[in-house]
């Protein structure tokens, strides 16, 4: 082997080490959480209320709270995201306005989550007098998820062949009719994929809900949108930093972390499977 090839061998080995490190990081993360959290998972843990100052019992209110706030997030982010994508992709392809919109989307996706929280506190909690509750937190998360749903919906729309649109228009359909009957039905599954990924991210976010509605401890399940709520990511945060018996509740923290990542992974996985099936269908 001459010098050139030796260098190549070592170079590629270095690259292999890089990917190895990445894999190792993921394995360490998953191993730690699964091994220390699995012991806590039980039917009781998932369905019972916390007891004795949250040192015993379960995390049901956190699971329910996360679910409810994610629903509100979806209600805001999904239709508005789809609508924006439809405008960008179907109505006007490229002009000053669309470039402005796209620039705004990219910037919104880079805004720190705590800044969304600040915005939520001023706009929803104070100015709109909704107070700190599921609705305020959900709306804040919805705004944060909007760039994701727009981008995902646009991708899905782009994947619908132009012939579908042209075919409908040639038959005399109006623009909206063409979109409604010939584009959307084929784009929606793809839109769902990206949307689910965005919602998975929203479910795991803590900063936007810190001051817009997440609560330390509620002795009951939220029955309306205008009450505070417990949430899985916030619960993990307080169990590991602010609880008054941190060492004692460490196992509960691990259990909460495990439930949270299982939830996020399940959502991601269903989106990925959906994407895979769509790709297969498109190949046919």
């Amino acid at each position: 082997m001459n010098k050139k090839h030796l260098k190549e061998f070592m170079g590629f080995m270095l690259l292999r080490i890089c990917i190895g490190i990445i894999g190792l990081i993921l394995i360490i993360i998953l191993y730690d959480i699964i091994s220390k959290g699995a012991g806590k998972i039980s039917w009781e843990f998932l369905t019972a209320m916390p007891r004795k100052g949250m040192t015993e019992g379960g995390i049901l209110p956190a699971i329910v709270g996360t679910f409810m706030v994610t629903v509100i997030t979806a209600i805001l982010a999904v239709p508005l995201g789809m609508g924006c994508a439809i405008y960008l992709n179907e109505y006007v392809k490229d002009n000053k306005i669309t470039r402005l919109i796209r620039m705004s989307i990219r910037n919104l996706s880079g805004v720190p989550s705590i800044v969304y929280g600040l915005f939520g506190v001023v706009l929803f909690v104070q100015l709109m007098h909704i107070g700190t509750c599921i609705l305020a937190a959900g709306l804040t998360l919805g705004l944060m998820t909007l760039p994701w749903t727009i981008t995902a919906s646009e991708e899905a729309l782009k994947n619908v062949p132009n012939s579908y649109r042209d075919g409908a228009l040639a038959l005399g359909a109006s623009k909206w009719q063409a979109i409604r009957t010939n584009v959307l039905p084929y784009a929606v599954p793809g839109m769902l994929t990206g949307t689910i990924l965005g919602l998975a991210r929203a479910a795991g976010e803590t900063a936007p809900i810190l001051f817009t509605g997440a609560a330390f401890y509620l002795p009951f399940l939220p029955k309306s949108l205008f009450t505070q709520f417990m949430a899985l990511p916030y619960h993990l945060y307080i169990m590991s930093t602010q609880h008054h018996a941190i060492a004692k509740v460490r196992p509960i923290a691990y259990g909460t972390a495990l439930v949270l990542i299982v939830l996020v992974f399940t959502m991601n996985l269903s989106a990925i499977i959906l994407r895979y099936q769509l790709r297969k269908r498109r190949m046919e």
Binding site: I75, P219, L225, F226
Partner: protein
């Protein structure tokens, strides 16, 4: 597919509107001090057991957070391990809130160090100097040659403010590590031989892993321990404080009921079980006045 989604979305929105028309749940919202949270949570659990149908939500965040919530109209009772400042009272009154104070327990603030530390007593002045960052090594006090590591709370903590006003009379050292709660300080000092921290007496109740320093009010006066019931109640231990709850106006209704429970024999027994000290008579009179009894 699209029709299915549209119908689903409609269903969800209709349901949520239906749900929001149900009453926002009637509950007593208690917020604030981390020193008090353990105690008040236990009190509220006991109260809710005896009064099914009543709900109390207790959350922490520090005395500052609780008082801010009271001022902002976001809670019914603010737990505070310090007194409200004049500025805060004025702000509350500006917003139409009239804060009334109830004392629920007495706390002897403990200065804690690691078991391996040879120092077992300090004067109030020395404590102040240490936390202001003027004394930086244990050897200056007769201990080992080890740099002092300070563990304290953050500015939302009533304990932080109380110590600052009563003992430091100045600002904390900027090198002090700001922990999120009493429990974190306990954990940190247990593991750090150079550490010193301050926590409410309820947090050292069952702790074998650290030293609770004896404190003297001045050089030359007697040292006393915060674990001594008498010393705390008679005020001989120099760093005692009332643990307070602030309410908007004279307590009424469910909140009043809960407060009366806290001050009752049953409630005060829970106070002692949690490691704090029950109320001496002068505070009972103070409370009665606030309650309008």
């Amino acid at each position: 597919m699209k029709k299915y989604i549209r119908n689903l979305a409609l269903l969800v929105s209709v349901l949520s509107f239906a749900v929001t028309n149900v009453f926002a749940q009637e509950m007593i919202q208690v917020k604030g001090s981390d020193t008090l949270i353990n105690l008040v949570q236990r009190l509220s659990e006991s109260y809710m057991e005896e009064n099914p149908g009543k709900f109390i939500a207790v959350t922490g965040g520090g005395s500052g957070t609780g008082i801010a919530a009271l001022i902002n109209g976001k809670c019914d009772i603010a737990n505070a391990s310090r007194l409200m400042k004049d500025k805060e009272i004025a702000q509350a009154q500006d917003g139409g809130i009239n804060p009334k104070r109830i004392v629920v327990a007495i706390d002897g603030l403990c200065v804690i160090t690691n078991l391996k530390n040879r120092i077992s007593k300090l004067t109030v002045d020395e404590v102040g100097k240490i936390f202001r960052g003027e004394i930086t090594n244990w050897k200056e006090l007769g201990g080992d040659d080890v740099s002092i590591t300070l563990y304290g709370r953050q500015s939302n903590s009533g304990t932080y403010e109380f110590l600052k006003d009563m003992v430091l009379k100045g600002d904390y050292s900027s090198r002090m590590r700001r922990m999120n709660g009493n429990a974190q300080i306990v954990e940190a000092v247990k593991q750090d031989i150079s550490g010193i921290g301050y926590v409410g007496v309820g947090y050292v109740k069952e702790e074998k892993g650290l030293t609770v320093l004896n404190i003297a009010s001045q050089a030359g006066s007697e040292y006393s321990s915060p674990l001594n019931l008498n010393d705390v109640k008679t005020g001989k231990y120099p760093i005692t404080r009332p643990l307070n709850q602030y309410i908007n106006g004279t307590p009424k209704g469910d909140a009043r009921d809960f407060i009366l429970f806290e001050l009752s024999e049953q409630g005060q027994k829970i106070v002692e079980e949690e490691g704090f000290f029950s109320l001496p008579d002068e505070y009972r009179e103070f409370n009665n006045k606030a309650l309008g009894i």
